[in-house]
């Protein structure tokens, strides 16, 4: 175990206690272990063990046809699975050189921003729970069920959605979907304002979160931080603006940034991002272009079932797609999307075969969780708990 202190004789003769936090602990949202070296109530050092839910996604992806990787991506950051799905589909479309119609882009944006709202709602309400404020959690989860309702109407599943296909979406937005999204946009802001009024200017919450777990912008960049955790330190790096994908350039939204990089800033950045996401969904819904909801990618996009029953060519394509016999160009590609936690990247090396030769997920949680000891050195245990929950570490993305 590293001990980064300049130890003098006095400090060496102090007795430090070792406290084991995890892997099963009510406050660690996910399973990872922190062995804390403590001087009374102050944390002196921390050693982390991760990998308690390592499911070998990257090895599985080498043995599955490309369309079967989408359910794997669902289970990375499972609080916002649609973003992961869309990122993978965009990676494959980039590899195949396919341009999807504008309507698909706007539909994807709506789904991704809903997922971002869902992810941030979990994180923020759980920061509240960790400081003892359970009411916000119950309000927020009732409206999160409405987001699940919308997903169910679009694709049939609540959590691990598998939305979309390589080449577009599997079906168009029906009238019910549009109605449900309109209902959500009409009713949610008021409830969100109520949630904000519970916590944002709450004296106890502010005292607990301001100044806890701070990190400077230089350190954060060096540690590879991305997403709300980085934006809370003041760096306005957002993949949607830096490398726009899926027509994000068409939308008018701002990137909220914080000042100190402490827990309160991370909380507030996520709150503001929820408001920005609502704006984006509103714009996308108002300007949803007409057109097809898929691109012509016959070797990946299933033909309509009626044609499969009557048309020989469609039958052959259907067979080839399901059996995974696809013609993929040889090459390597890196594509990233702005996930709920930051830059979620897909590095795909294809050798022309039926499965990926190498697929690596650039998982934001795995990269920024390394900085946790640095952030909590010198703080008390209760501050460390709040700092950890504000980082939004999702175990599925940590271990993959």
């Amino acid at each position: 175990m590293e001990n980064n202190l300049n130890t003098t004789f006095e400090e060496q003769s102090k007795a430090y206690t070792t406290l084991n936090l995890g892997p099963t602990h009510p406050a660690t949202h996910g399973i990872f272990q922190n062995i804390l070296t403590m001087d009374g109530e102050i944390i002196v050092d921390s050693e982390q063990t991760v990998g308690y839910i390592h499911r070998a996604f990257e090895k599985i992806a080498e043995h599955r046809p490309f369309y079967q990787v989408t359910p794997l991506t669902d289970r990375l950051n499972y609080c916002s699975s649609p973003i992961n799905n869309m990122g993978w589909h965009m990676t494959m479309e980039k590899l195949l050189g396919v341009t999807v119609p504008k309507r698909v882009d706007y539909m994807r944006v709506i789904v991704m921003e809903l997922a971002r709202i869902a992810d941030h709602l979990v994180c923020n309400s759980v920061i509240g729970v960790d400081t003892g404020a359970l009411t916000g959690f119950t309000y927020v989860f009732q409206w999160r069920e409405k987001i699940y309702d919308i997903y169910e109407e679009i694709c049939g599943a609540r959590l691990t959605t598998n939305i979309g296909r390589i080449g577009g979406m599997e079906r168009d937005f029906s009238k019910e979907v549009i109605l449900k999204i309109e209902d959500f946009l009409a009713g949610f802001p008021k409830v969100f304002d109520e949630f904000c009024s519970l916590l944002e200017r709450n004296r106890i919450f502010m005292d607990r979160t301001i100044g806890t777990g701070p990190i400077t912008a230089e350190k954060a960049l060096n540690y590879g931080f991305t997403g709300p955790n980085l934006r809370a330190t003041g760096v306005d790096y957002d993949v949607r603006v830096m490398n726009p994908y899926s027509s994000y350039g068409d939308f008018d939204f701002t990137i909220p940034v914080g000042i100190n990089g402490d827990t309160y800033d991370r909380f507030m950045v996520r709150q503001e991002e929820i408001r920005e996401s609502l704006k984006i969904i509103r714009q996308a819904l108002n300007n949803l272009p007409e057109g097809k909801y898929f691109a012509e990618v016959p070797s990946f996009y299933l033909p309509p079932k009626e044609e499969v029953y009557h048309n020989m060519e469609a039958l052959i394509w259907h067979f080839k797609i399901v059996m995974g016999e696809a013609d993929v160009p040889v090459g390597e590609i890196y594509h990233s999307v702005e996930g709920g936690n930051g830059e979620l990247g897909y590095y795909l090396v294809s050798d022309g075969g039926r499965a990926a030769y190498r697929l690596h997920f650039r998982r934001p949680c795995f990269i920024y969780y390394q900085a946790f000891p640095d952030m909590v050195k010198g703080s008390t245990l209760s501050d460390a708990i709040v700092a950890m929950s504000s980082m939004n570490v999702i175990a599925g993305e940590l271990d993959a």
Partner: protein, 179 residues
Amino acid sequence: MSIQIADAPPGIQGQGFFATSLDKAVGLARANSLWPLPFATSCCGIEFMATMASNYDMARFGSERLSFSPRQADLLMVMGTIAKKMGPVVRQVYLQMAEPRWVIAVGACASSGGIFDTYSVLQGIDKVIPVDVYVPGCPPRPEQIIDGITKIQELVKNEPLRRRNSAEYQALMASYGIK
């Protein structure tokens, strides 16, 4: 709207008293006040959070007080994938629970490894601890999780008092290497 009243266990009723057998009374009390230990590891854990929240509300069934300490829990709810690295931890948590204890495996990964047939995932938690109810799904809907809880409640209601000392149960524990 008609109101449904749950059936009382078989017994003798009279003016101001109700007599039934001890195990039925104890079973009734235990079933409606289970204290679960949510061992949430991955996606099923988020569905569990949705089950505990206001829309599906598992607290209606008596599980109001979640216990994160195994010493104070009746029901171990394992939700999510258990990797081989995590197996000893699950076992240690189970061993710390006091009898009578029940285990529910929520989700495909906890029941049988799910879609992760890999070198690093334990193919079902019944490889390390005995399981009472399996809830399939990936992830199961909150209604399914509640269905699993009601099945546990049926098991608890009808459990004979001396079951934990019976030879069959001792043999089951021995097959897992648990004393």
